[in-house]
């Protein structure tokens, strides 16, 4: 368990460094990337393109292995069909992302800049997650 936690910390360090180096952490850059009809800045397409290379390789390796290095099985969701919750959730997320230019990873990384805007956004994001947990995301045992 300690090894898994250390692996999570190490992966988080790589992830946080990647967000800073790619400038995903900068909401103005993200908004310029999303502004396809205006003064479009395509550079962040290279973040997703670059990220897909090692992650696709890892998923190919995964298909040839029975278990990960530090656990007895993979915890990857089984394939499923898109449904209403998925599409509505992704759409609500897209509105929030487009309004400010922050998604969860960069918002958390931006806390290190000491900007109050990042703190306020992350607090509101946690509040949104709590609202979901108390409404549509209530566990089965709480909805008798």
């Amino acid at each position: 368990m300690l090894a898994r936690t250390l692996a999570a910390i190490a992966c988080g360090i790589l992830f946080g460094a990647g967000l800073v180096i790619s400038d995903m952490i900068n909401p103005a850059r993200v908004l310029a990337f999303l502004d396809v009809a205006g003064n479009w800045d395509p550079s962040l397409a290279f973040v997703m393109g670059g990220a897909l290379i090692p992650s696709s390789l890892a998923y190919l390796i995964r298909n040839r292995r029975r278990a990960p290095l530090l656990d007895d099985r993979f915890h990857v969701p089984a394939p499923g069909r898109p449904d209403g919750r998925l599409v509505v959730g992704a759409a609500l997320f897209g509105i929030g992302w487009g309004l400010v230019g922050l998604c969860p990873g960069p918002a958390i990384a931006a806390l290190t800049t000491g900007r109050w805007e990042a703190g306020l956004f992350v607090a509101a994001m946690l509040a949104g997650m709590i609202v979901y947990r108390l409404t549509l995301g209530r566990p089965a045992w709480a909805t008798r």
Partner: protein, 143 residues
Amino acid sequence: MNDVNFLWPLAGGLLIGLSAGLYLLSTGRIAGISGLAASAAGLTDGGFSKLGFGFLAGILGGAAVASALIRQPDITVTSSIPLLVIAGLLVGFGTRLGSGCTSGHGICGMARLSLRSVFATLTFMTVAALTVFIMRLVSGGAV
């Protein structure tokens, strides 16, 4: 036109993908930040997760070190307080309802060609671009 440098985003993207790939092959899990954040806050069926907490702590450490040693972030936020709150609420609620965000669906899900993740990614990218378009119209085209 913006001066576009592809090397920084490419290098950063490779690091993010390496992180997601190593996380899968070591712990067997998906590096989706919205899910990790919810589990670090004890807001999932599994309860509080040390892995989620560790990953988020790592993000803070990695971002701080990279900012100090490699590239000083130059952050511009122009959003008002109500906008930050509304957007944060939508991102938190929407990523939980939709089971993922830019990392879980956009990187991990696309990498494993998950149909659900492809749908989710197309949806949030399109809606985000439309939102920016509408916001630019409302703000009088000021960029």
